[in-house]
């Protein structure tokens, strides 16, 4: 089946809202406007005002309300038009949601999905382009998912909604309208991907490339280039950022002995840094023939100008360069 990432998210929500009466969608412009990016297209028309809720532009307010609704036994899907705006309400994600099971000794908890656009998009400049993958991954009590393609988006979003924990689900605007040929199995109403499991997108024996979200595509593109140069890269799509699928990464490195990480977040303490730590703290270290190289966005706020934006996030050429270096080529 041919499907866009947006359609995958839309259909996953549609089906889960149908399946479980506790599930509802809440956010800005999600109902009557069909979503600022049309991700919730037709959901309001189909499910009505009791299931799809338009909020005022008050992130702290509606995130807290979604959190409270989850404590009260509902299963909210809380949409942020982008995760940049969730900085206004991050306290509710962390302090009202993630920590509450622990603080209450297991008595109180919320099952809730926080989802929306994360990371650099196209031409929207610094305030609309931040990647929060690593911040949320650092918070105990949160599960963090980052889909790449429609298969990921459907399978992980359904898993997230059915999960009994607070889940942060990071989407990518640039990927929304990308069409993929997908296996028909993903259409199954119960198509669920396991949380905590990465996917090997491409087998390879010479070097491991670890990426998530849009950077998986960039890595696959780089892998094609590398293949032309005789280097077979294994590309890992992390899918879950917290908890990381350390096993898949380690096993790959045991095979390839080399690794590069690719992300469009900032460098400091990013997913790449965490993978460096994994290399240090696991048996993978002994298999490394060369140190890991990180590719990240530049350590600057996202620029608007195309000439700069293009070189702000990792491109295939950067991945190729890094892999060549790591392979000593």
């Amino acid at each position: 089946v041919s499907m866009t990432v947006k359609e995958a998210i839309n259909s996953a929500m549609d089906e889960e809202i149908t399946r479980d009466s506790r599930v509802f969608l809440i956010g800005e412009e999600v109902a009557q406007y069909n979503g600022a990016y049309k991700v919730s297209k037709d959901l309001w028309a189909k499910h009505g005002s009791n299931r799809i809720w338009d909020t005022p532009i008050t992130e702290a307010g509606f995130t807290g309300i979604a959190a409270g609704a989850s404590l009260g036994g509902l299963k909210p899907i809380c949409e942020f038009m982008t995760f940049n705006f969730a900085m206004q309400s991050i306290d509710h994600i962390v302090n009202s949601t993630a920590k509450i099971r622990y603080m209450s000794g297991g008595k109180i908890h919320g099952s809730i999905v926080f989802r929306g656009i994360n990371g650099p998009a196209a031409g929207v400049a610094a305030q609309h382009s931040q990647c929060f993958a690593s911040w949320y991954s650092s918070v105990p009590g949160l599960i963090v998912l980052s889909p790449y393609d429609p298969e990921d988006a459907r399978g992980l979003l359904k898993a997230a909604i059915r999960e009994d924990e607070p889940v942060v689900f990071l989407e990518n605007e640039i990927m929304y309208n990308k069409k993929f040929d997908c296996d028909d199995k993903i259409l199954d109403k119960d198509f669920i991907l396991p949380i905590g499991k990465a996917k090997i997108m491409r087998q390879g024996k010479d070097i491991t490339i670890v990426a998530h979200s849009r950077m998986v595509g960039v890595s696959l593109e780089a892998a094609e280039e590398l293949a032309k140069k005789g280097i077979e890269a294994e590309v890992i799509n992390l899918r879950t950022l917290k908890p990381l699928d350390t096993e898949t990464i380690i096993n790959s490195v045991k095979k390839t002995n080399r690794i590069v990480s690719v992300e469009d977040g900032w460098p400091h303490g990013g997913i790449g840094a965490e993978i460096c730590a994994l290399m240090m703290e696991s048996e993978a270290f002994d298999y490394l023939d060369a140190p890991l190289e990180r590719l990240t966005s530049a350590d600057v706020p996202a620029p608007y100008a195309k000439s700069l934006e293009e070189i702000f996030t990792p491109r295939a050429v950067n991945v190729v360069n890094a892999c060549l270096r790591v392979c000593n080529k």
């Binding site: 509802f24 009791n50 809720w53 909020t55 005022p56 008050t58 702290a60 307010g61 509606f62 995130t63 807290g64 309300i65 979604a66 959190a67 409270g68 609704a69 989850s70 404590l71 009260g72 036994g73 509902l74 306290d91 509710h92 302090n95 009202s96 509450i100 099971r101 622990y102 603080m103 209450s104 000794g105 297991g106 008595k107 109180i108 908890h109 105990p140 009590g141 599960i143 009994d164 924990e165 949380i195 905590g196 908890p243 703290e281």
Partner: protein
């Protein structure tokens, strides 16, 4: 059955028809004795906490509520445990009224595994899911949108209940309260906003923190009522009305005039920003326990001696509860890593040293 009719203190309203408000309350010996019991127990819990804190058996922040007991007892007299309750860090009174024993409350503050949150939360983090008490929140203002979310869940599930959302006069200026109020008003949620105005937010008097100190008007389009909350019957009657209003019409904004006898928390002597006379005056004229005690004595529902016996017994029970809680075991090291996620699936939880991590 003997009943007593009591005149209620005057009330101020905002966009609310004052004629709907009761001017008197009917009560009974049984009720008054129960109120006295509960309020006095809460006060003893606080006094005992104070002593244990000073003895370094309770750690960190500990916010006592003596002076404000009438609110916690009065509220519950007007609603049921099917109505949700959420508050801030000053939460001992609510924890007790929502079914926690003094033993479990002390155990929590002592950091014992028998505590209400297994010792993981401490003084600011009491919860009781079965009685719909959602905490206990250390972040000023944060409980308010969360409480509106509880109201949302009630309405969504078509339950005939309200969510009672408590916050302080200092918290009142938090923008998220305005945000949540706006949504509650738009969606007509059964959210009862309750500002405990005890005149200070930490060391700041209300006039220095709020341009508008008429907290009952701060819901803007939401009707508001201000009452003297040192009067437990006023609190009770207001909550009865609030429950009916909330379920039928949507949000309501209450200001409860009250006073805290103590400093803000155990680390605050509470005397640099107000004078002793002010405190003494409230103690002498507006004490919620004294009010009920006088109703009992004046109407000869019990004798001084009987009241004293009750007090002694409560004092004793609370002391014992604390002493016993002290003997309870502390959480074992393996508890450090539990309760991050549910037990439905296993995740590796990392420890200080990686090797000590566990699949939980």
């Amino acid at each position: 059955n003997f009943t007593l009719t009591v005149k209620l203190p005057p009330v101020t309203t905002h966009k609310f028809d004052a004629t709907l408000l009761p001017t008197e309350a009917v009560t009974s010996k049984e009720e008054l004795m129960k109120y006295f019991n509960d309020m006095f127990t809460i006060r003893r819990i606080e006094i005992t906490s104070d002593a244990y804190y000073k003895n370094a058996e309770i750690r960190g922040f500990c916010h006592l509520c003596d002076g404000q007991e009438g609110i916690y007892v009065g509220m519950e007299a007007g609603v049921t445990h099917d109505d949700c309750l959420i508050t801030a860090y000053r939460d001992h009174g609510q924890a007790f009224m929502r079914g926690e024993t003094p033993h479990a409350i002390f155990a929590e503050m002592f950091g014992k595994i028998t505590g209400t949150s297994k010792g993981k939360g401490g003084s600011m983090h009491f919860y009781n899911k079965t009685t719909n008490f959602y905490g206990g929140n250390g972040i000023v203002g944060a409980q308010v949108p969360v409480g509106v979310g509880l109201a949302f869940a009630l309405k969504y599930q078509k339950k005939p209940n309200i969510s009672m959302i408590m916050y302080g006069d200092g918290a009142a200026n938090q923008g998220q309260i305005a945000e949540a109020a706006n949504i509650a008003a738009l969606w007509k949620l059964p959210a009862i906003f309750i500002c405990e105005n005890n005149k200070y937010g930490m060391g700041t008097a209300i006039e220095r923190a709020s341009a508008n100190t008429d907290f009952y008007t701060r819901g803007d389009t939401i009707p508001g009522i201000k009452i003297e909350a040192q009067n437990i019957l006023a609190v009770r009657e207001t909550m009865k009305l609030a429950k009916k209003w909330g379920v039928e019409h949507g949000p309501l904004w209450l200001e409860f005039s009250t006073y805290r006898y103590r400093g803000h928390s155990m680390s605050d002597p509470g005397v640099s920003y107000r004078n002793k006379e002010e405190i003494d005056k409230v103690r002498a004229t507006r004490d919620p326990i004294e009010y009920v005690k006088h109703l009992i004595l004046d109407n000869k529902l019990a004798s001084e001696a009987e009241i004293e016996d009750i007090q002694d017994k409560i004092k004793d029970d609370v002391n014992k509860a604390a002493a016993e809680a002290k003997k309870d075991p502390v959480p074992e090291a393996k508890e450090l890593l539990t309760d991050v996620f549910s037990h439905n699936r296993k995740y590796l939880i990392r420890n200080v040293e990686l090797k000590d991590s566990a699949l939980i």
